[in-house]
Structures are given as C-alpha cells and as structure tokens.
C-alpha cells in the first residue's frame, strides 16, 4: 500500500534538527557560559576555561554564539584562520582548541538579526559544524535570556549552564531570573563564578548557596587583563587566567553535576 504523509509532515520536516544530535554525538560535555546580564565577563571566562582545559590536554571546542557582538575571536586572536569545508564545516584549530564563530561567515560586518533569523542562523551553525570527538564544548553565550538561551536548551538537550555574575546586586537580580528559568526547565547548572570581585562582600556567595547551587569561585578585578586581550600567551599568565585554573582544579574540571 502506498502512503503519503501529506499534511502530517511539518513537525519533523526540517532536516537540520535531526542532524544536530549527530554532529554532537562524540562530544562528552557541553557547557554554556551564560549570565542573563551583559558585560560580566562571559566571553573572557569561556575563553579562559577552554584554553585551560586544552592546556590540561583535554580535547576542547569553543563555540561563540554571540552573533551581535562576537568577541572570543579577538581574545584568541583568531586572525586569518578559516574553517575547512568537508561534508559540512570543520572548525580550525587555534591554540590547541577547535574554534567556531559567526565571524567566519559575516566577517567583521554588523549582522542585524531579528529573533527568528537569529534562531535560524544558530540552528544552521550547529547543523553544519563537525566537531568530531571532544571532551568539552564550551559555548560563549550572548547576554540575555532570549533566543539563543531558549534555542540552545531546545536544540542541545544535554547542555549544562555555567553562570557568571558580578558582585553587583543589579547583576544578581538578572542572573537570578536566568537561574529560576533553568531550574524550572530542569536544565543542569554547573555552578556560578563571581567575576570582577573588588571587596570582601559575601553577598553573592550566600545567595548562591541559599538556592543550592555550587559557588565555583571568584575572580578579582584584574587591571592587567585588558592589555592581554588578543595575546593568548600573555592572557594565560594573567591573574584572571590563573584564577580560572584554580577554579577548574578545585571543581574537578567541571565534571559530573
């Protein structure tokens, strides 16, 4: 008997969706570095975590999902690197990690996207990128709890979130909303890093413990950091990077949950 599926096709007919799992099947752990709040150090922390794990000989990928203001390519000094085309796209290797960003497609031009367009671009990027075998894929998320956050939760069922917050109560107000959303959606949270610490306040640490999340550690405000951006060797010698090393070591390299 011949059977058509006309009319019942919509749900699964976007071929990109079924390939994303396939693309990530050999990636052991996927960690999205997120905050809700902008400018708290997500990109620097995501880059430092990826570089440190690579330094420890893990196989690491770094994916920049900030389409409005991609920045990890500047931190890593990705320069003239390019992905290779092979049955999709193979990310280039920079400082021992596999790297992917929208800049390989949009160059350094502004890329003004509305919600659905941003979602489409994100889906497409996940569908074409062949990461191969990785111990970790670190994802630098854009600020906010909109499209990219919802998309990554929808498209990568096993993603875990690492949250960045600054000592400011204003930052915490926003991060708290993201935490509530993640808990409601049963998305695992690796823990919270407090960045740009200046005083001795324990406000954030206490709030995080109150809600039963792991306080992974704190990073002081580092005056030498700005100078090291774009020079990964120098970057890896900053107090900032040193603190990331300690935090990873203290927290068993973010393994388990």
């Amino acid at each position: 008997m011949d059977r058509g599926l006309e009319g019942r096709k919509v749900k699964m007919s976007d071929p990109r969706l079924s390939i994303i799992d396939e693309r990530l099947k050999d990636v052991d752990d996927i960690i999205a570095v997120s905050s809700g709040k902008g400018g708290v150090g997500k990109s620097l922390i995501a880059s430092a975590i990826a570089l440190t794990l690579a330094e420890k000989k893990y196989k690491v990928g770094l994916l920049d999902l900030d389409f409005t203001s991609p920045s990890t390519h500047v931190i890593l000094n990705a320069g003239e690197t390019h992905p290779t085309e092979w049955k999709g796209i193979i990310p280039p290797e920079i400082h021992s990690l596999k790297y992917m960003s929208i800049i390989y497609f949009s160059g350094n031009r502004a890329l003004p996207l509305r919600g659905l367009e941003a979602s489409n671009a994100l889906t497409e990027l996940l569908a074409i990128t062949r990461w191969g075998q990785l111990d970790y894929l670190i994802v630098d998320m854009p600020p906010g709890i909109g499209d990219a956050t919802l998309d990554i939760i929808k498209l990568i069922k096993r993603v875990r979130f690492l949250l960045v917050v600054t000592p400011s109560r204003l930052a915490f107000e926003t991060v708290k909303k993201l935490i509530e959303l993640l808990l409601e959606l049963n998305v695992p949270v690796v823990g919270v890093i407090e960045n740009m610490k200046m005083g001795e306040s324990t406000f954030i640490r206490e709030r995080i413990r109150e809600i039963d999340l792991k306080y992974l550690g704190e990073i002081p405000f580092d005056h030498a950091l700005e100078e090291a951006i774009g020079d990964p060797n120098r970057f890896s010698k900053t107090v900032f990077a040193e603190r990331i090393r300690e935090i990873l070591e203290m927290n068993d390299y973010l393994k388990g949950s």
């Binding site: 071929p15 990109r16 079924s18 031009r109 890329l111 497409e124």
Partner: protein
C-alpha cells in the same frame, strides 16, 4: 548548509519519519530547497545516492524543487527577488552556509535598510514522503 551535510540531514530525517510512520520502504521523496541555500544540485544528488541506507531508500525517487528567493523590506515594504549574480563571491559562499548572514551583505535596493525578511527560498524541507508499510 553544505550539500553533504544537507544530504545527511535529509536522509536522517527521512529515516526518523519512516520509523515513526511505520514505513518499510520509501518510494518517493518530495524535497524543496530554497534558492538562497545555493545548493549544487548535482553534488547534492550524488551525496544522497552515496548516503542512502540500503533497504529503506534503495528504490526511492527524489523530486527536488528549487524555490525562488523572495525578500521583503520591513522598513519600506519593497519586495524583490535576489539576483545571485549581484552578490560577490565571498558573500555568496557565506550565505550558502548560513543564509541569515545575508543581513551583513545585502541592503534593500529601495531604501537601503538591512531590516528585511526572507519570505521565500530559505531552508530545505521535506514536502512529502511516499512509501510502503
């Protein structure tokens, strides 16, 4: 999306669809491809034949239709269809992989706005499947 990645995605989607619908053998697949994706049809068809799973798809006929790229400006309402020849090579290559990056390269020919909508010819979708239960 790239031809091979695309073919792989299409085959994997068909397999899942076939499984959920209890189809043992697929006879015909109706596929639509947006022009914006700029798929090389020959490469794509070759990839499909290379990747197809032996029992499920061995006799399947692929009907592939390319849908024109239609764009509408959200700012002034102007509608146009993209002429491939007018896009430079690097932009075309980038758009081939991620169609949305068109917003980094193209402006509305009437008002210059980057705020336009792709109303047709984006993506790839399986329009219909015919098979045997």
């Amino acid at each position: 999306m790239h031809e091979w990645a695309l073919a792989e995605a299409v085959i994997s989607t068909i397999s899942r669809l076939a499984e959920s619908e209890g189809l043992r053998e697929i006879k015909e697949v109706k596929l639509k491809i947006g022009e914006l994706q700029q798929i090389e049809l020959e490469v794509f068809k070759f990839a499909l034949t290379q990747l197809r799973d032996s029992s499920l798809l061995k006799n399947a006929k692929f009907n592939i239709e390319v849908v024109n790229a239609e764009i509408k400006c959200r700012n002034c309402g102007f509608e146009w269809s993209l002429e491939k020849e007018k896009i430079d090579k690097d932009a075309a290559e980038a758009i081939h992989f991620i169609p949305e990056v068109i917003h980094a390269f193209i402006r509305c020919p009437k008002c210059g706005s980057p705020d336009f909508e792709i109303t047709g010819g984006r993506g790839v979708w399986i329009e219909d499947l015919k098979g045997v239960r």
